[in-house]
Amino acid sequence: MMKEANNYCRQIGVEASPENLREVRRFVEEVSRDLQLEGDDGYDLKVAVSEAAANAIEHSGAESFLEVCVTQYPDDRLTFEISDEGNFHLSPRKPEQAGGRGLGLPLMVALMDEVRIYRNSRGGTTVSLTLFLGEQQQRETA
């Protein structure tokens, strides 16, 4: 049973459009249910993944594609990778002028245990968001 859960891996692809943020969030909700995530974890993942997707959509060109892939590793790390075909950039404007774009990354960092941003094999950008589920459980039982 445990081994099965540790091999958990799913992914979806959506067109890079703001209207598809809901679909990305429904995917995260399904994953949370599958993995029976407890407490704030499910909601935190939903916000962080949706923010990463929103960021990708903003800097991806029209008709581009967004991939969301989730993997649970044997050490209970749960990682969502949001990959696009564009270049990640931070907004130089103030958050309130940037339609909230500037708040996305700080929120991801606040909600996740680890946030990584790197260039992927498609020439685009991947944002990797990780929660250490085991550590959380240890913290809660301590």
């Binding site: 703001p18 209207e19 943020l21 809901r22 969030r25 704030d40 909601y43 939903k46 916000v47 949706s50 923010e51 929103a54 959509i57 958050p95 309130e96 940037a98 339609g99 909230g100 774009r101 708040l103 996305g104 700080p106 929120l107 606040a110 909600l111």
Partner: protein, 122 residues
């Protein structure tokens, strides 16, 4: 996301339902723009029926608080625990231009206070 409006002691209350995200936060921004432009001192958002908010929505709240600063406040009624936590993370809940209410009656009490303070000044 759906937005409807009502009035509480002369203050415009926006009742929002559903999810506030980057795809629809612009509509919320346009909605609160009218009382802001009119010079209203207090604006209230009833978020009882909002189950999700992201940085797009949070940013509308931040900008509303900024525009009301030095003249009044933005009141938020009954956000769920998750929404409330996000508002805390971005520092909204400690901003003096922001008020958090558990229900509309509490918001009404705060509005009455503003009204009686104004009457006292006259």
């Amino acid at each position: 996301m759906e937005i409807s409006t009502s009035e509480l002691r002369g203050v415009e209350v926006f009742e929002v339902r559903g999810e506030i995200d980057h795809s629809n936060a612009g509509r919320l921004s346009s909605a609160v723009d009218e009382p802001l432009e009119r010079g209203d001192e207090v604006i209230v958002l009833d978020l009882s029926e909002v189950d999700y908010i992201d940085s797009g929505g949070v940013s509308v709240l931040l900008s509303t608080v900024r525009r009301l600063r030095n003249r009044g406040w933005l009141g938020v009624v009954n956000p769920n625990a998750n929404v409330r936590r996000l508002l805390e993370i971005v520092g909204l809940t400690v901003d003096h231009g922001f008020r958090l209410f558990s229900d509309r009656a509490e918001a009404e009490g705060a509005i009455e206070e503003v009204i009686s303070n104004e009457q006292g000044k006259r």
